[in-house]
C-alpha cells in the first residue's frame, strides 16, 4: 500500500521544513522531527506551576478568601442593602391597603402576578386547589387586609405558602392584597370547602377592618 508511506515526492506545493529528523524513528512511515519544545510553551507551563504554588500558599496564609469568608462578606453586603431598603420603605399602612383595595387599577396591576404565582395553588378564580379557597368569608390566617398582606409577605411556610416578600416588592404585595380581597364573594364553580374562621370586612371601602 504505497499511499501509506510518508511524504509525497511529487508534492510541489507548500514546502518541506528542513528541520532535522530524529534518526531511526520510522513507524509505518511516520517520521519525527528533532525540534525542541517551543520556548513559549515551556515558559507558560512554568508560569502556571509557579502561579499554582503561589495560590496554594496564599490561600493557606489567608491572602485569598475561602468559601466561608466570601460567603460571610457577601451576605453581610446583602444584609446592609436589605436594611437600607427597609429604612427607605415606609411600613405598610392601613390607608395604603385600603386605597389599593378601592382601586381597580391596583387590582388589575396584580392580575398577572396572581395568575403566574398564586393560581397554581389557589385556582385561577381563587376557588382553592392545593391552597384554600380565597373567595369565601372563611380565613385560616385572618381576613383583614393587614392579615392578607402579612400572609402574602411572610408566607406560612410550614403549610406550603411561600413568603412572597422575597419575590415581590411592597407595592406589588399591596396590589396582590387588593386582588385577593377583590375575589371575595365571587362564588366560582367548584369552590373548595370553607376552612378557618369567618371574617366580615367592614362596609364597602374596607377602611374599617383590621
Amino acid at each position: 500500500m504505497t499511499d501509506e508511506t510518508t511524504a509525497n515526492a511529487s508534492d510541489t506545493e507548500g514546502y518541506t521544513p528542513d528541520d532535522d529528523l530524529v534518526e531511526g524513528h520510522d513507524y509505518d512511515g511516520i517520521k519525527e522531527y528533532d525540534n525542541p519544545v517551543p520556548p513559549w510553551l515551556s515558559l507558560i507551563f512554568a508560569g502556571t506551576i509557579i502561579w499554582s504554588g503561589f495560590y496554594v500558599v496564599a490561600i493557606n496564609l489567608g491572602y485569598i478568601s475561602r468559601y466561608e469568608e466570601s460567603l460571610d462578606d457577601g451576605l453581610a453586603e446583602l444584609q446592609q442593602l436589605q436594611s437600607q431598603a427597609k429604612e427607605k420603605t415606609p411600613e405598610v399602612t392601613q390607608q395604603m391597603l385600603a386605597k389599593a383595595a378601592d382601586s381597580q387599577e391596583a387590582i388589575d396591576a396584580a392580575e398577572s402576578a396572581f395568575m403566574g404565582n398564586c393560581a397554581n395553588c389557589h385556582g385561577k378564580q381563587g376557588q382553592g386547589l392545593v391552597g384554600p379557597n380565597l373567595t369565601d368569608k372563611y380565613w385560616i390566617h385572618g381576613g383583614s387586609l393587614k392579615d392578607i398582606y402579612k400572609t402574602l409577605q411572610n408566607g406560612v411556610t410550614e403549610k406550603g405558602m411561600p413568603a412572597w416578600g422575597a419575590t415581590f416588592d411592597q407595592e406589588q404585595i399591596v396590589n396582590l392584597t387588593a386582588y385577593v380581597r377583590s375575589l371575595q364573594g365571587t362564588d366560582p364553580s367548584g369552590a373548595k370547602k370553607a376552612e378557618g374562621e369567618k371574617f366580615v370586612p367592614g362596609n364597602g371601602s374596607g377602611s374599617s377592618d383590621g
Binding site: 514546502y15 525540534n35 517551543p38 451576605l75 437600607q84 392545593v130
Partner: protein, 739 residues
C-alpha cells in the same frame, strides 16, 4: 533500531494485519454514532418542547444517560478501538496476539452497549454520571476490558518494532487508567441483580465519581484520541511529526497532571475546599500539556496546509485538533473557582463538553473514518463531495450548538446570582430563568440536528463505499524486517568484564536518551504510567477517607425511613438527578435562593450521592416541607398545573404504579452492612413501617382535597422522600448551629 536494522535488509518476513476487526469497529462506530446523536437530538427537543417526553420510558431523565453513554462508549469507544487495532498492528509490525480475543472484545462491547441502553430506559441505573450501568454490566465491562488489555499487551510483547511510537504511549495510558477508574467508581454492594448501593457515601462518593468523571474525559475522550491523532494526522498529511521532544513532554505531564483535576467539578460544594483548590491549580497546570498535543498536531501540517483544500480528511483532523485546543483552554478557565461559580450547573458546561465532543472527538473520528474507508475496503470513497458537505454542515452545527449553550449558560448563571438594589434576588422565580433561555434550546436543537445530518451523510457514504462492486475488503499483508534487535540480549553480560566496558555498554544504551530506552520496554513504560496516574489519585482521595471518621455527624441527620428510601430509589430510577441538583453551594445567591448550604455531615447516608451536575430545574436539597403533599401530586401529574411554563416531563404513572415494597428490608439490610445505622428491628419492620407512613401521607392528601387511595402507589414514596429533603437542618442557622 538503527544499529539492528542496518545490514539486515534481507532478513524480512510477512505479516498479515487483522483489518477485519477494524472494519467491524468502524461499522459499529458509525451505527452507534447515528443512534447516540439521534437520541441527543431527541433529548434536545425534549428540553425545548416538553411534549417530546414520550410516556414512562422515554423521558429526558432516562434518555440523557442513553445519549451520553452511546456517544462516549459506543461512538467514541468503537472509534478508539478501530484506531487502536488499525494503527497498533502497523506501528509494531505485528498482527493482534489473538483474533479470538479481538472478536470477544468486539461482540462483548456491543452487547454491553445494548444492555446499557435497555436498562437505562427501564430505569435501572447507578446514577454516577457516565457510569450509570448497573453492577452486572460493570462486571461485563471489566471482563471485556481485561481481555482487550491482555490482547493488546501480548501484541506489544510480540512486536517486531523495537520501540513504541507516541500513539502507543497514549493507548497504554488509556487502557490502564480506564481500568482503574472503572473499578473504583463502581464498587457497590448489590441488593439484587438490578439494584446496589455504593461502598462510599456522600462527599466520598462525590469525590470518587468526579475523579472518575473527569478522567473519563481524560482517558476515554482525550488520550486515545491523541494516540489516534499521532497516527492518522501525519499519515493523512504525509508529513513527519513536528517534535518528538514535545511528544515526550506533553505525554508525561498530561497523564500525571490530568488525574488531579477532578475536584474542580465540586467547587463550593460540601467537598472540603482544599481538594477543590488542588483540582483547580492542577487544571491550570494542565493547560500547556494539553496544548502540547494540539501544537504537535497543527505544526505537523507545516508546509502541507494547501492539502486541506482537497482533503476532507485533513479538514476534519485540523478542525478537530483546533477544537481540542479550544476546549483545553476553556477547561482550565472553568476550573477557576470564581468562573466555576457562574458556569457550574448551567448550559455553559454543556457547551464546553460539546465543543470537545462534537469538535474534537467527533471530527477526529470522522477524519479517521474517511481516511480508513478506501483503505479498508480497497476502493474509492463513494463521494468526496459528500464528505466535504459533511465537514461544512458539521462545523456550522457545532458553532450553532456551542454559541447557543454559551449564551444560555452565561445568561442563566447571571440571572441566578443577580441581586437588586434592595438586596433581594432579582429573579427569585426559577422559571423566569428557564423561559429566558428557551429560545437558545431551539438554536441548540438546530445545531445538533445539522451535526446529525452530517453523521447520516457519513453513514450513507460508508454504505455506498462498502457495497461498491470494486470494494475488496481484504487483509493487508506487509513485508517487514525481522526483529533482529531481539537477538541482542539485555541480560547477557558475558564479555563485559571491566568496569569501563560496562560503562560503555550502559552509555551506548542511553545514547538516544532515557526515554528511548523506555520506549523499548513496554512493561516498564506501563508501570511508570500507572504510577503517574496513581499519585494524584491517592493524594486526593485518601485524605477524605481518613477524615470521615472525624467528621462530626450533624446531630439531627437521620437515615431515610423505609418509605423515603423507596422514594429515593424512584427518584433515581426516573433520572431526576439529570435535571435537579441537591447541593446548595457555599455562595450567597444559593443560600438566598434555596436555604442553608449543604455540609459534609448531612451527606453521610447518601448512597449514591445525588448532587447532580446540571440545574435544568431548581435545586431540591431544601425542598422538604416547602409544598404540601397535594402540590407534589399535582406537580408530578403535570408540572404545568403547579408551575406554569415548566419544561419538566409529566409523571402520571407514579399515581398508577403499584408501590412495591417487596425488597425494602433487603435494601435496609444492605445499607446496614455499609454502615447506615438501621437496627435489626428497623429491618424486620421495614415493610410495615413503610405501609404506615404511606397511609399517613395518602390520608393527608385525601384530607386536603386530593385523590383517594394513593397509599399503595409510587407517588407517596416519592413524596415521602422529597418532603424529607433538608428536614435534618431545619431550625439550624447557616453555620449549622441552633437558631
Amino acid at each position: 533500531m538503527s544499529a539492528s536494522s542496518t545490514g539486515s535488509s534481507a532478513a524480512t518476513e510477512q505479516v498479515t494485519y487483522d483489518d477485519k476487526i477494524t472494519r467491524y469497529f468502524v461499522l459499529a462506530t458509525v451505527f452507534w454514532g447515528v443512534v447516540g446523536m439521534g437520541v441527543g437530538v431527541l433529548i434536545a427537543l425534549q428540553l425545548a418542547w416538553w411534549p417530546a417526553n414520550l410516556g414512562e420510558y422515554f423521558t429526558f431523565g432516562r434518555l440523557r444517560p442513553v445519549h451520553t453513554s452511546a456517544v462516549i462508549f459506543a461512538f467514541a469507544g468503537n472509534a478508539i478501538f478501530a484506531a487502536v487495532y488499525y494503527s497498533t498492528q502497523r506501528l509494531v509490525k505485528a498482527r493482534m496476539y489473538s483474533d479470538a480475543m479481538s472478536w470477544f472484545h468486539f461482540w462483548g462491547w456491543q452487547l454491553i452497549i445494548v444492555a446499557t441502553a435497555v436498562t437505562y430506559v427501564l430505569g435501572y441505573t447507578q446514577t454516577h454520571e457516565y457510569a450509570e450501568m448497573i453492577w452486572p454490566i460493570d462486571v461485563a465491562i471489566t471482563i471485556v476490558w481485561v481481555v482487550f488489555a491482555a490482547n493488546y499487551f501480548l501484541t506489544l510483547r510480540d512486536r517486531r518494532e523495537q520501540h513504541l511510537y507516541a500513539a502507543i504511549w497514549f493507548y497504554i495510558a488509556s487502557i490502564i487508567t480506564i481500568a482503574i477508574l472503572h473499578i473504583f467508581n463502581n464498587l457497590v454492594l448489590p441488593v439484587n441483580f438490578f439494584k446496589s448501593y455504593p461502598l462510599f457515601a456522600g462527599v466520598q462518593d462525590a469525590l470518587i465519581q468526579w475523579w472518575y468523571g473527569h478522567n473519563a474525559v481524560a482517558f476515554v475522550l482525550t488520550t486515545p484520541f491523541l494516540g489516534l491523532m499521532y497516527y492518522f494526522l501525519p499519515k493523512a498529511a504525509g508529513r513527519p511529526v513536528y517534535s518528538y521532544k514535545l511528544s515526550i513532554l506533553h505525554f508525561w505531564t498530561l497523564v500525571f497532571i490530568y488525574i488531579w483535576a477532578g475536584p474542580h467539578h465540586l467547587h463550593y460544594t460540601a467537598l472540603p475546599e482544599w481538594a477543590g483548590t488542588l483540582g483547580m491549580v492542577f487544571s491550570i497546570m494542565l493547560w500547556m500539556p494539553s496544548w502540547g498535543g494540539m501544537l504537535n498536531g497543527l505544526l505537523t501540517l507545516r508546509g502541507a496546509w494547501h492539502k486541506l483544500r482537497d482533503s476532507a480528511v485533513l479538514k476534519f483532523l485540523v478542525v478537530g485538533v483546533t477544537f481540542y485546543g479550544m476546549s483545553t483552554f476553556e477547561g482550565p478557565l472553568l476550573s477557576v473557582k470564581s468562573v466555576n461559580s457562574l458556569s457550574h450547573y448551567t448550559d455553559w458546561t454543556i457547551g464546553h463538553v460539546h465543543s470537545g465532543a462534537l469538535g474534537w472527538n467527533g471530527f477526529m473520528t470522522f477524519g479517521m473514518i474517511y481516511w480508513l474507508l478506501p483503505r479498508l475496503w480497497n476502493t474509492d470513497l463513494w463521494s468526496k463531495r459528500w464528505a466535504e458537505i459533511h465537514f461544512w454542515i458539521g462545523t456550522v452545527g457545532i458553532l450553532l450548538y456551542i454559541i447557543a449553550m454559551y449564551s444560555a449558560g452565561v445568561t442563566q448563571g447571571l440571572m441566578w446570582r443577580a441581586f437588586d438594589e434592595t438586596g433581594r434576588l432579582m429573579y427569585p422565580d426559577f422559571m423566569e430563568t428557564v423561559t429566558q433561555i428557551l429560545p437558545m434550546y431551539w438554536v441548540r436543537l438546530v445545531g445538533g440536528t445539522l451535526y446529525l445530518v452530517g453523521m447520516l451523510m457519513l453513514a450513507v457514504n460508508m454504505i455506498m463505499t462498502i457495497i461498491s462492486p470494486d470494494a475488496q475488503p481484504e487483509d493487508v499483508t506487509a513485508t517487514v524486517p525481522k526483529p533482529t534487535w531481539r537477538e541482542a540480549s539485555d541480560t547477557d553480560w558475558s564479555g563485559v568484564e571491566t568496569y569501563d566496558a560496562a560503562l560503555d555498554r550502559m552509555s551506548a544504551k542511553l545514547k538516544n536518551g532515557w526515554h528511548r530506552l523506555l520506549e523499548g520496554w513496554p512493561l516498564v513504560f506501563t508501570i511508570l504510567t500507572t504510577i503517574a496516574v496513581l499519585i494524584g489519585s491517592v493524594v486526593e482521595i485518601l485524605p477524605s477517607f481518613l477524615i470521615e471518621t472525624r467528621t462530626p455527624t450533624t446531630a439531627k441527620v437521620q437515615p431515610y425511613t423505609p418509605l423515603e428510601l423507596e422514594g429515593r430509589d424512584i427518584y433515581i430510577r426516573e433520572g431526576c438527578v439529570n435535571c435537579h441538583s441537591q447541593m446548595v453551594r457555599r455562595m450567597r445567591s444559593e443560600v438566598e435562593r434555596y436555604g442553608q448550604y449543604n455540609r459534609p455531615g448531612e451527606e453521610i447516608y447518601e448512597r449514591p450521592f445525588l448532587w447532580g451536575s446540571k440545574r435544568t430545574g431548581p435545586d431540591l436539597a431544601r425542598v422538604g416541607g416547602k409544598y404540601p403533599h397535594l402540590w407534589h401530586v399535582r406537580h408530578m401529574r403535570d408540572p404545568r398545573l403547579t408551575s406554569p411554563n415548566s419544561i419538566m416531563p409529566p409523571y402520571p404513572h407514579l399515581e398508577e404504579n403499584e408501590l412495591t415494597l417487596g425488597n425494602v428490608d433487603e435494601k435496609l439490610e444492605t445499607l446496614a452492612m455499609l454502615g447506615t445505622p438501621y437496627s435489626a428491628n428497623n429491618i424486620k419492620n421495614a415493610q410495615e413501617n413503610a405501609r404506615d407512613q404511606a397511609e399517613k401521607i395518602a390520608a393527608q392528601i385525601e384530607e386536603s382535597g386530593g385523590p383517594e387511595g394513593l397509599e399503595d402507589k409510587e407517588i407517596v414514596a416519592l413524596i415521602a422522600y422529597l418532603q424529607s429533603l433538608g428536614q435534618d437542618v431545619k431550625g439550624t442557622d447557616l453555620k449549622g448551629g441552633m437558631q
